[in-house]
Structures are given as C-alpha cells and as structure tokens.
C-alpha cells in the first residue's frame, strides 16, 4: 500500500526518530511510504491556543498538501484528532481527510498486530487523552505492544487520567501541570517499568522532561519506536536514550 506520512511539526523538529521509526516499520511490512515535503503543521497548536484564523489557514494548507492521498498516517493522536474532530468544525469542507493514527493504521487498515518487533524492556502504556477519548483507540496500542517479543507490559494505575501536558496549559498553568505530572510519575514508578510508552510525542515531551529532571531513569518512548525495534534488515535499531526523551542520535 502507498502510505503518506504526516510527521507533524513537533516530530519533524524535535523527535525525527519517531518519524524514522514509522518509515522503517511500514517499509518492513512491505508498504511504500511517501513524504510530502510541503507539509508543516496541522494547526492543532493554534486552534487550541485560540488563534483560530491562523489554525484554519494551516488546516486548509495541510488538506491541500495531502489531497489525492488515500491513506495518511501520523504518529500523533492529537494531530489525528485535530484533523478528524476539529477540521469539520473549522470548515465543513475540511472534513474527511483520511488521516490515521499509527495504531489505527496498523490494526484497522493493515490488519496487523504482530509487526515482528523485539523490545526487551518492562513497558507501561499511558493512553494519552486524544488517543483515549478523541480517537477512541481503545486497546489497539496495547494489542500491538503485547505482540512485541521480550516486552513485559505493566498495567498503569489510573491510566486514563491526563498527564498534565495540555499544550499551552503546560506553560500557562505550569504549577498545576507539574502537579499532575508528579502524580502521573508516581503511578509510573509503581509499575516498576523502565519505559513509559504513548502515541504522542507532545505528551511524551512533558512526561519525559519531568522524568529527566528527576533523574528517574524511566524513559519516555513513542510507540512507533518500540514497534520498529529489532525488525532487522531495514536500518539500525533505535538507540536507547538516556536524556530528556531519548538520545536522538545526531
């Protein structure tokens, strides 16, 4: 299948390893991946921060850039949710862009749960709010994780509670945001996991940034990177990082 990848602005600039993992994974599964170089941002940040005309312009732009693609994948539940739920509110003409979050693409469109990955770590999964409530991913990410060899999955208590990121919230209400992530980290530590996994690099920046500041040792890793681990032939295995999110090898 020919699949267009929307890496998101955040991923492009800060976490290119996530996008690379998506490419490696999909190519490993035998699909053709294309990258539209004109893509920038879906408008999520401007929309939720109240800059609506700016967000709508970005939404129009993204819709044009991806026009003609039947399957678009993004490793971000928030950006997928923006396209699916916010775009029709911005302008009914923007409804229907076929953007899938990675686990939706794998499980629903491609029909795979075992991608052939190997990841020898104890992992706990944090369902981000957009994956849980806006997209209703349900147990798709968990099914994918359960199929990963040598991965020990630990249940996260009170998993459905927000980690406290919330985009502008993390800065505008920094104290409350940090109070929330402190409680989330306490739950993560209870699991004994050495990796916390999610479907959004934005939430992972927040979780990983707080874990890093605490020198907790627990790493925040995107689902795509776990699923692209140990796939063999197609490229190097991801570097297990120790810094804020992970060492993104320069």
């Amino acid at each position: 299948m020919r699949i267009a990848v929307f890496v998101t602005c955040w991923g492009d600039a800060l976490f290119p390893a996530t996008g690379r993992a998506v490419v490696r994974l999909l190519e490993h599964l035998g699909h053709e991946v294309v990258f539209e170089p004109a893509q920038t941002c879906c408008g999520h940040m401007h929309w939720t921060a109240g800059y609506h005309p700016e967000a709508i312009a970005l939404a129009r732009r993204l819709t044009e850039v991806f026009a003609g693609h039947d399957v678009i994948v993004t490793p971000s539940a928030s950006c997928a949710a923006t396209v699916r739920t916010a775009y029709p509110r911005m302008d009914p003409a923007l409804a229907g862009l076929p953007v899938y979050e990675l686990s939706e693409l794998l499980v629903d469109v491609l029909g795979v749960t075992d991608v052939g990955a190997r990841y020898p770590h104890r992992v706990t999964y944090q369902p981000t709010c957009h994956s849980l409530r806006a997209l209703g991913l349900g147990d798709r990410p968990l099914r994918l994780l359960r199929a990963v060899r040598d991965l020990e999955l630990a249940d996260l208590p009170e998993a459905g509670e927000c980690c406290g990121f919330g985009g502008a919230f993390a800065v505008k209400n920094a104290d409350t945001s940090v109070a929330m992530v402190a409680d989330k980290i306490a739950r993560i530590h209870e699991t004994g996991a050495d990796v916390v996994c999610a479907t959004d690099d934005s939430c992972l920046t927040h979780l990983g940034g707080a874990l890093s500041r605490l020198r907790s040792g627990v790493r925040a890793v995107h689902l795509a990177e776990i699923l692209a681990s140990g796939l063999g032939a197609a490229g190097p295995a991801p570097v297990p990082g120790g810094v804020a999110r992970r060492a993104d090898a320069p």
Partner: protein
Amino acid sequence: MRFSDAARPELGDPAARRGRRRAAAEARGRRADAVGGFPGWEALREAGAAIRERTLRELGTHLETLEAAVEEEGGHVHWARDAAEARRIIDSLLPDDVPAALVRSDVTDEIGLDGAEPGPHSKAAVVGAGFLVAETGTLVVAERGDGLSFPGTLVAVAGIEDVVPGWTDLEVLLQLVSRAGAGVPMRPAISTRTGDFALVLLDNGRTTVLADPDGRAALRCVHCSACSDVCPVFQRTGPRPYGPGRAGPIGAVLTPQVRGVEAPLGASLPFASTLCGACADVCPVKIDIPAMLVHLRGRVVDARRGRPVPPPEMLLMRGLAWSMGDERRYEHTLVRRARWARLLARDGRIRRLPGLFGKWTDARDLPAPPRQSFRAWWRRRR
C-alpha cells in the same frame, strides 16, 4: 485574579489535595457503578441533552407557562437581573422579625446567600430550586425531609434555565442527575411544592450566554458535579481559583461568558484545562466542554488582537503561523531555532529556557533538538 495565580496556594496544600482526590475517586467509583451496568445510559443522555436543548431554545415560552402556572396556584414570580437585585427582592419577601433558613444550591451560592438549614420551627426559608416544572408551576428540590412542607414563608430562587417543560422531562433529568452526580442508580427522592411560594428567577448574565450559539449549551447543565469529580485540574486546585461563580469545568466555560473575557479571571479560565475531555465523557446532558473552552480561547485571543502593542505570545503565535504557511520559511525557522536551542543544552538536555518558555523548564527538561530534522533525513535518504 488569574486562575494560575489563585491555584498556587491551593497546590501547596498536600493534605487538601489528597482529600479532594480521595473524594473524587469515591464519587467516580459510585458513578461508574451507577452508569456502567445500565445499558440505557447513552440513550438517556441523548434524551436529556435533547430536553435541555429544546428547553433553552424555547425558554421564553416555558418561562411564561411557568409564571402563569405559579400565579394560578397562588404564588408569585419575580424577575431579577443580577445577584444584587435578587438579594433585594428576597429581602423584601421575607418577614423582618425572624431569621430565614436556607436550602443551598448553586444559585444561592451564586447570589451570595448563607444561612442555616430549615428545621421544624423555621418560619421562613429561602430554597435554591433544583428544577421548576412549567406545566404545573412546581418547585422541585432533592429530598430535604420536611424541607418544603413547613407552613412559613417560602422563597424559591432559580436561574431562568432551571425550568423543565413537563413531568416526563423531569423524570429523565432526575435519573440523569442521580446516576451521574450522586451515583445513585434509581430515581432520587425529591420534595416538591406547588403554589404557595414566591419564586425569584435570576438572569445574572444568562441571556448573554444564550445569545452565543457556541456557548449556550453550557446552560444545559443540571448541576450534577460529575465534571468536577473527573477533572484532573479541579482535583489539584479545588474550587477557589475558579472565582466567585461555579467551579470546575462548567465554571470554566460559564464564568468567562457571564463576566466577559477581558478581565484576568475570565481571560484565564478558558485556559484552565488540558482539554483532556474527561468532563465531556461523563456529562449527563452531553455538554461538549472542551469544544466550548476552545471557542472561548478564540474569544480571549480576539479580544487582544486590537491592542496597539501585541503581547509576546501573540507575536510568537503569529510568527509561527507565518513560518508554517510555507515549507521553506518553516524549515528555515526550524533550523535556526534548533541551532539556538542546542546552544542552551548540556548533555542533550535543556534545563533552562528564557522568556515565555521558562515556565516549562522550571520543573521539566527539554531534549536538545537533534541536528537533523525528519525532512532533512528524508532528503538525504532518497
């Protein structure tokens, strides 16, 4: 005061935070039991949302019906534009010589009343209404024992949106309130009184809310408090930072509409949420609070657009939107900012950012941006 400033002292009280979290967890547990095992829940929510929507659309008609019914039963209806007028009217209706008891509600809190619960010897009471049934002119409150049956003066006070067209509608709403709010699976016990009371109907900004098609659904609220019980922000901060109006997620969408989005409280409340969506999931009348918060954020920003000197955040957001409007500009910005950010990093992490983002690094590191963006990698790979 801004929400974030008012929240700081509340966050610094760990015992209160633990208490709120425990109480909220219990409420959530009760609610999950009352809702989870009830197969008709989603249909009931749909019905409740439709009833409230229809009521708000035809509010004038239902209020006229209510007024006529109350007067026919020998009661009186008084209209109050704001809290001060409501208090004046209530004062004038109560006897001077005896202290009036109070049955609290969100509306009595809103207009700043306080007093003791009514007892068997109460001669006069002010009662915050739960609902008012228009067709019969009936006052409905959650069970108060003898609360509504004493012979003295009774003044009921309600928001104009608390009217319910008929008894079949009431039946639906009561079930929703009890399951979603108290976590009680059946129809709750209620007290009712028809005729023989004075009714004060309060506007206090509600007609302004009604006039905003993207905000009016907030008035569907049936005061069950489920949204606060699931709100991760409310659980950390408690009710105080939400200011004098309602607290929790519903307060965050109502107060800015009622008081405007210019002053610090009204301008900050729409941002006092991570948009996690937990409130919308539980609201028994399906108020889309996160969507409404986003709408109000737009109003806050729009109110600032006309300023002669744009605030730093606006410059940043406009600048970003401009860069992102073209992939070459975007990549140029990306490369420049990443280079600059790497200068601040040590061992791959940034521990301190200047300016607007300093709040991020107060408690969180930021990874140093990698040298190679995804697009640069892609180009090289082909």
